[in-house]
């Protein structure tokens, strides 16, 4: 079945989407050109006042053009091509801001080097310079990065105008085929894990604002181009799945923010400086400050939810039936991680034991954790183990699985690439075998023993070894040795048990993908399968 990649509606949407991307980059360029760039914790003591000033005419022109565009749209009955005119006005505003910022940045740099600003003379270090946070490296070249974001803003705007004028730029088919070909549960999960490790290893680079903004731009352009694909669009814009798109943005932003603050704090504390939270104790009065803030948030969120509820209809399906299930049948989005676990485990394990252990384990953290560092401030290096364990469990084993279950699981719970058509009849051979079959039939070449316990003895051995041998082995690692010395053996064994249960999910996933292993212990007679 073939669906059109582009429709007029989609192209209009993409035009405005790239307009938004352009205005974001124009704003970034203007921010770097005109604003004070004093990063978190950097001191402004002894710095001369800045010469960079946001020109009033630029602000006026920007809002005037956008206001004019709104007026044109309101009067669309009188004007032919009103939408296109309004779009052009907005685009003009974006380009003006981007180009002015670029030109002014170059001018400021010259003026600064010459030692005179507008009106007053400024020598030496001033607020014009970028004051980077400690640990994040040298100050950036403001002129260069203003120009880069300005150029990107113009490029995005050009793409937007292309769509607005009917140019059908689509994501090349070979890229889509390539992505579909390499994507699968294995690659997706492994790639996510590697990305997580890289993010932690290179957190200095990731924390950098320029790198982060470049990432945002990459996501913007990829997402925009992907929307030209019918299958991708169909899945992403389902009312069910829109919150997940929002969740990815929110989780990404807050993960990055905490990572950045943690990295700055770690660098500061390594130099013996107070951390950011110590420097700016965020204490306010409950009444009126906090209560007012909460009230405003409450009202804004209510309005947002009402608008959302009107704009995107509730994704109701056919009446419930005990004999017919929608295909694919998906849990509520927040449970899709659990549903993905159910692919690898028995219901009692994936639906009861593991979720129960997640809750119990989270509750047990205060009793297990003897590390008093990190109380009231962001840090990674002082709480490496806690940070990595929690973030792996949350980001990879929960959020990434939700994304997998939402966007990449199709009919019959088969895996589909992001640009792949959800074919009801897609066949993926998944002949799974139990460990007992591998051991008795394939390795030993014998028949499976009749006795259940004897038949499943390899599985029991593996599971017992996993839970009894791994903790003592782990205890030899210096990090855990220290933990035992601080907290004692009881704490350590509780921790080890929880970690082993947590690790059982990725281990089982890898075994399923590599060995087609269904169950390590398989006693369907008594519904006991692990």
């Amino acid at each position: 079945m073939h669906h059109p990649d582009l429709t007029p509606g989609v192209m209009t949407g993409l035009a405005w989407y790239f307009l938004l991307a352009s205005v974001l980059n124009a704003a970034a360029a203007a921010y770097i050109a005109y604003m004070e760039l004093v990063s978190e914790g950097a001191s402004r003591v002894g710095l001369a006042p800045k010469t960079r000033k946001l020109p009033n005419w630029l602000v006026g022109a920007f809002f005037a053009l956008y206001g004019l565009a709104v007026l044109v749209i309101l009067g669309r009955d009188l004007l032919p091509n009103a939408t296109l005119i309004a779009y052009s006005l907005c685009a003009l505003a974006n380009v003006v801001v981007a180009l002015t910022a670029g030109a002014d940045a170059a001018h400021f740099a010259e003026a600064h080097d010459a030692g005179h600003g507008r009106g007053s003379e400024v020598h030496g270090p001033s607020l014009d310079d970028h004051q980077p946070a400690i640990g994040l490296g040298k100050p950036m070249n403001r002129t260069l990065w203003t120009l880069i974001w300005a150029i990107i803003a113009v490029m995005f705007q050009a793409m937007g105008i292309t769509y607005a004028l009917g140019g059908a730029a689509i994501l090349p088919q070979f890229i889509r085929d390539g992505v579909d070909a390499v994507s699968g549960p294995t690659t997706f999960f492994v790639f996510s894990t590697i990305a997580f490790i890289l993010m932690l290893m290179f957190r200095k680079i990731v924390s950098n604002g320029i790198v982060a903004w470049a990432g945002v731009n990459a996501v913007l352009v990829l997402f925009g181009l992907s929307m030209t694909d019918w299958d991708f669009r169909d899945i992403v814009t389902k009312p069910d799945n829109v919150p997940i798109v929002g969740m990815i943005i929110l989780v990404g932003y807050f993960t990055w923010l905490s990572l950045r603050r943690a990295y700055i704090n770690d660098s500061r504390m390594a130099l013996g400086l107070p951390n950011l939270e110590e420097m700016e104790p965020e204490k306010t009065l409950t009444w009126p400050d906090l209560v007012y803030t909460e009230l405003i948030c409450m009202v804004a969120l209510t309005i947002f939810l009402v608008v959302w509820g009107i704009a995107l209809q509730a994704p109701l399906e056919q009446p419930a039936s005990s004999t017919v299930a929608p295909n694919p049948s998906k849990a509520p989005w927040y449970f899709l991680g659990l549903q993905e676990m159910l692919v690898y485990f028995d219901p009692w394990m994936a639906g009861v034991v593991l979720p129960g252990l997640i809750i119990v384990g989270l509750m047990a953290i205060p009793y297990i954790d003897t590390n008093k560092a990190g109380n009231g401030y962001y840090t990674i290096s002082q709480r490496k183990f806690a940070y990595i364990t929690f973030q792996y469990g949350f980001l990879i084993l929960w959020v990434v699985l939700i994304v997998l279950g939402t966007f990449l699981r199709g009919p019959n719970w088969n895996f589909f690439g992001p640009y792949e058509y959800w074919d009801l009849h897609k066949v993926i051979p998944l002949n799974n075998v139990n460990l007992s079959e591998i051991v008795w039939l394939q390795v030993l070449g014998l028949a499976k023993p009749e006795n259940i316990l004897k038949r499943e003895s390899p599985g029991f051995l593996v599971v017992l070894a996993y839970f009894l041998l791994v903790p003592p082995l782990l205890a030899k690692i210096p990090m855990f040795k220290k933990m035992i010395a601080q907290g004692g053996w009881l704490r350590y064994f509780v921790l080890a048990g929880l970690i082993l249960f947590m690790a059982s999910l990725p281990i089982k996933m890898v075994l399923r993908w590599t060995l087609n292993l269904k169950y390590i212990i398989a006693i369907p007679e008594y519904f006991f399968n692990i």
Binding site: E278, P281, A325, S329, L342, P347, W413, L430, N431, K518
Partner: protein, 412 residues
Amino acid sequence: MAKRPSVKEILELARKGGAAQPSGGSAEEVPAEESAPEPAAAMEAAPAPAADVPTPSSLGRPLTLKEKLAAARAGGAGAPPAAAKPAAAAPPVTEEAGAEAPAEAPRAVPAPAAPLGRPMTLKEKLAAARSGGGGAAPAAGAKPAAGAAKPAAKPAAAAGAKAAPRALPPLEKITDPKDLAEAARQTAAKKEKEVAAKLAEATPPKAKAASKEVKPSTVLPKPGRATPGATAAATTAPVSRRRQFFKAAAEVCLSWLFIAWATFAAGCAIFTAMMGRFMFPNVLAEPPSTIKIGLPSNFDPEDVNERFKAEWGFWVVRSTRYNGQDIIYALQSVCTHLGCPPNWLAGEQKFKCPCHGSGFYISGINFEGPAPRPLERFKVTVADDGQIIVDKSQKFQQELGQWSDTDSYIQA
């Protein structure tokens, strides 16, 4: 809205005036009299805060909470004038409504026990109440403990004036906390003696013992409970004791508390019984568990008949795939993993579950996905008229070896 003092300003104020009455230290001090004389003199006499206390201006950054607390503590406990200052000269603490100052020294008992540094326990309150109606004994008794617990708060200067029995100024003019405590102690001792004397006068020795049992009670007064000792002392015969027991039992049974609880328990019991009855309805509209599905010849070889899935929840399958024989069987359309209804995919010749991807052959044997065991068969029999009857009340599971049962299939 009037400008509120920020936390910083409050602390700044406390630090300035804190030499006389630091807010942090005030909780540790003896409650000041409300009608205290003008404290201005004491405040003026107070020296500046200790030099080692950090201020925002000296650090060039806002103080952390820890530093603020340390500063407050230093201003309160460390500075000698603060501790040595007369209690009466202390200004009433306006910022802290919680630190209520009792008006008179002897009535210091029921206050939230500032000298103890914690609220009074129930036992202490009772003791206070018992020791002669508003006597100051507990306060006096508690004072030394507080003094021991917070030695830093007690000034060295006051130690010199600690001569044990000494003449005290009149109550209104007492300024030193020590004097105040001493006064309280003396008053309490006096009161205690008076009470003891009164008791000795008023009651004979035996009744006195009984009267000691009388405690101020917050629960319902129980008639007859207040003077059991006296009556018991008067009558000792076993008959009257039994009568007394019945009388007490009757009184208990007739008390409102008992009636209320009994009614509640009875209500619960009745409700439980009704719930139990609800579980066994008079009419049970369950569909019949057996259905006639037609003649065996109606079913094509190697075919899955889906006519009965929507309403009855099973497929009728005729296949040779299970054991080579051409048999007809009814497979329940419920996945053995988590109970979703799988779909029959004729193209791939398999049942496929939409929930977690379990797959089953036409025989019902599981081969992919998480399903741990094959689909289940319903009982099938041939009726007298030659039609097949499917009985959903009986199931056959392959992993238990039940598929060899002749009730689980019929020969085509």
